[in-house]
């Protein structure tokens, strides 16, 4: 059988084009790679190369012909040993049908629009996917597990968040040779915020690695090492600097498992202080919770207490997936009770009810949990019983705990330092609408940072950040008091 030369598409959206010029004539011998013809669309011109070798048997479409359909036969090449009589039985009549995708029969598009048809068939897949997930409520159920609540431990010690983080890393480094810490000033300087204090002495410079000030580079380097099964804990001096590295956090760490069809995992932890510290200005005071929580392929954790910090950082290091671990500089020096047990680990994806209540649910994470607890005290004085939920994990979000609480209180206030637009509060408001709309007695209220870059002046900074009084006011508003 003679070999068909088809009108090629220059792009997935091209359906027809002009056959501008033939570079060969009938009877010519051609090799793979020889240019046979030039074709044009309104956007570009391109050469058609031979993929097979042989003799040009017949040119079907004349040079200069416009509107030649993609995949139409434009010429025949005779294979070695064939002569012109082989052309007697060929019928170049119609455009060749591009093999249809599996479910292409669901739509009517012609084969020459195969790219359009495949994108059309993708739409219902997406839609049904969304429906399946909506039915699959509450989503967080699967992340519940047997990990012990910290209250069930018998021995506790008082620790700062800083010490708890250090102990979490040290304990995991003792049990797993593949765990190492890297970042700016993590080793000899003992950590810019002293979180890695003592690690260099115990583990040496092979496993506690001072990096140059080069976030993009060392984040990519850590990610590459994690592809190979090492378990890097990458410290950012603050998450503000991780903006230089976000390409590798999202494009390399979060997406590679999917892009590789499950072949290449990335067990890495990106940790460091997030959000506002004190008087450090706009470029050093931003909450990235919603940025990272937006992305599939990542887990995002934001601890409040020292117990959160320890139990969740250990879980993050053990997790086979990339985890963004958002700490808070102001909390580093605060002390809490922490179970005194090397096996103390907290489950990722499970929120904690810090204080039970019946009138209003207050959801917070990181430093805002402390402010929410203060607000709950004040509300109690005014006879309002607030339930305070410490999210602990932002992604996957523990929808169950929030929804159950709202079913009880019928009112909810969300709290975050970050900006309101597309923030965590916005997501929780949607989740509540999807799962507990009929239980709401008031619209969801959001307490967030003001919609401004962080000012330096002390008084303005206080005004820009959400305070416990804002939470009190919002809670009273949703209680109509």
């Amino acid at each position: 059988m003679p070999i068909e030369v088809l009108m090629p598409a220059l792009s997935p959206t091209m359906t027809e084009g002009t056959l501008a010029k033939w570079n060969v004539k009938e009877g010519d011998t051609v090799q793979s790679g020889d240019v046979l013809a030039e074709i044009e669309t309104d956007k570009a011109t391109m050469e058609v190369e031979a993929v097979d070798e042989g003799t040009i048997g017949k040119l079907i479409v004349d040079a200069g012909t416009e509107n030649v359909a993609v995949n139409a036969v434009i010429a025949y090449i005779l294979e070695e040993g064939e002569d012109a009589s082989a052309l007697d039985n060929v019928n170049p009549g119609e455009a060749k049908a591009a093999p249809k995708p599996d479910d292409a029969e669901e739509n009517e598009e012609s084969s020459s629009e195969s790219s359009a048809s495949s994108s059309a068939s993708a739409a219902p897949v997406q839609a049904s996917g969304a429906i399946e997930r909506a039915e699959n409520e509450p989503r967080a159920m699967s992340v519940m597990n047997e990990t012990r609540d910290e209250k069930t431990y018998s021995k506790f010690k008082t620790q700062t968040v800083r010490e708890a983080l250090r102990d979490a890393m040290a304990e995991e480094m003792r049990t797993d040779e593949n765990v190492f810490v890297m970042g700016e000033e993590v080793a000899q300087y003992q950590g810019a915020y002293k979180v890695t204090q003592g690690l260099l002495d115990e583990f040496g410079d092979k496993r506690v690695v001072d990096t140059p000030i080069t976030e993009y580079g060392f984040t990519g380097l850590g990610t590459g090492a994690a592809f190979m099964g090492l378990r890097p804990v990458v410290e950012f001096m603050t998450f503000n600097f991780a903006m230089q590295a976000i390409d590798h956090i999202i494009n390399s760490a979060a997406k590679t498992l999917y892009m590789s069809g499950g072949q290449l995992g990335c067990p890495i932890v990106f940790r460091g202080p997030n959000g506002a510290a004190a008087r450090v200005g706009a470029q050093h005071s931003q909450c990235y919770a919603s940025w990272y929580a937006h992305c599939p392929g990542l887990k995002v954790i934001a601890p409040y207490s020292a117990a959160d910090a320890k139990g969740l950082l250990k879980a993050a290091i053990r997790d086979p997936n990339p985890v963004v671990f958002l700490e808070n500089e102001i909390l580093y020096g605060q002390s809490f009770e922490v179970p005194d047990d090397d096996d103390f680990v907290l489950p990722i994806g499970q929120a904690k009810i810090e204080r039970e209540g019946t009138d209003v649910t207050i959801v917070a994470f990181s430093i805002m949990v402390g402010k929410a607890l203060k607000a709950a005290e004040k509300l109690a004085e005014e006879g309002i019983s607030a339930e305070v939920i410490n999210l602990r994990t932002i992604r996957p979000l523990d929808v169950n705990t929030i929804v159950r609480s709202v079913m009880k209180t019928n009112r909810i206030v969300t709290c975050e330092e970050g900006w309101h637009f597309a923030g965590i509060g916005a997501e929780i408001a949607s989740v509540i609408m999807e799962h507990a709309f009929d239980y709401l007695d008031a619209p969801v209220a959001r307490v967030t940072g003001e919609d401004v870059p962080m000012p330096y002046a002390a008084n303005l900074e206080v005004l820009a950040l959400p305070q416990d009084q804002h939470i009190v006011d919002a809670a009273k508003a949703v209680c109509y008091r």
Partner: protein, 336 residues
């Protein structure tokens, strides 16, 4: 330590390559070329979508470099990756089926032309952001050193990527920590449509590591034997614990940057001259014939065999089903 040296390796029939080696290089390069021609054809038929960056013209680079490795060394590259995968020994049918977005593809259709991986063949992608693979490859080398493994990571980048900041962040760390990584700069002379003269203040890319004390060498990337020889020197340097090495492999892509690029930024004469005078496959073909290693019939047999493999790959890529709908939600996170 020697800093940079400029050396163009010689490539004549009096080289030491054995007949078996030459035959292997010929076959491997031909396989890549026929694969890419077929991919271009399937793209034209609408069977491959999105971006598709062909490697035609550059075959000697990966085949020569792969011949210089131990076989266990790691390889990572950008999105012009089909040739690298075939050179690493990945199955042509699995690669082609990924191009068509089918279940039988290396990533079950979820990666596409730019994103394939094979742990088994030590191929770590397939990365779509220009320069992104450079710190990743440096991290793979960090892993080899951390574990005390006697391996080197070949980290390929193009002449466009050499102007990315993250490349220099990687050079710095690799030199500082003496990581076993060979940065293979495939200088095909065009960063998409912008020529090296127009995008690089200093066009001698092998010198880009000078500030970090990384030795560099410029190599005729159209000559598989020169590439192999230089690759062996670079890899030896890394294995001996001296840190990274930079190879600038001067090469040429015959096709546009991607399928939709008509490559109007260069002259037809320039392309024709490369094809006629410097084609990497023709060069080895001539060595085979002049050295009486194989006659025209023998070469034809290899051509046929390669063609048959590609035909099989194309058939598989068209017949393998699209991924099941359930694949949409798998491999996002590893279940704990």
């Amino acid at each position: 330590m020697a800093t940079t040296k400029r050396k163009r390796a010689t490539t004549r029939a009096d080289n030491q390559a054995s007949s078996e080696d030459l035959l292997k290089y010929y076959r491997d390069m031909l396989l890549i070329r026929r694969f890419e021609e077929k991919a271009g054809q399937l793209y034209g038929m609408g069977l491959i979508g999105g971006f598709c960056h062909l490697y035609i013209g550059q075959e000697a680079v990966v085949v020569g470099m792969q011949a210089a490795t131990s076989g266990d060394d790691g390889v990572i590259t950008s999105y012009r990756d089909h040739g690298h995968m075939l050179a690493c020994g990945m199955d042509s049918a699995g690669v082609m089926a990924e191009l068509t977005g089918r279940e039988g593809g290396y990533s079950h259709g979820k990666g596409g032309s730019m994103h394939m991986f094979s742990k088994e063949k030590n191929f770590y992608g397939g990365h779509g952001i220009v320069g992104g693979q450079v710190p990743l490859g440096t991290g793979i080398a960090f892993n080899y050193k951390y574990r005390g493994e006697d391996k080197v990571c070949l980290t390929y980048l193009g002449d466009g990527a050499v102007n990315q900041g993250q490349v220099y962040e990687s050079f710095n760390m690799a030199a500082l920590w003496k990581l076993p990584v060979v940065y293979c700069i495939e200088n095909n002379q065009y960063a998409m449509g912008t020529s090296t003269q127009r995008h690089s203040a200093s066009p001698d890319l092998y010198q880009r590591g000078e500030a970090y004390g990384i030795p560099g060498e410029q190599v005729d990337g159209m000559d598989v034997l020169a590439v192999k020889e230089a690759g062996e020197r670079a890899i030896k340097h890394c294995r001996e614990g001296n840190g990274p090495f930079i190879l600038e492999l001067k090469t040429y892509r015959y096709r546009g940057h991607s399928m939709s690029d008509p490559a109007k930024y260069r002259t037809k004469d320039e392309l024709d001259k490369m094809r006629k005078e410097h084609d990497p496959i023709d060069m080895v073909k001539k060595l085979l014939i002049d050295g009486n290693i194989l006659d025209e019939d023998g070469l034809k047999d290899i051509d046929k065999e390669v063609k048959a493999e590609i035909a099989k790959a194309a058939e598989f890529a068209q017949n393998s089903p699209e991924p099941d709908r359930s694949e949409l939600f798998t491999d996002i996170l590893i279940e704990v």
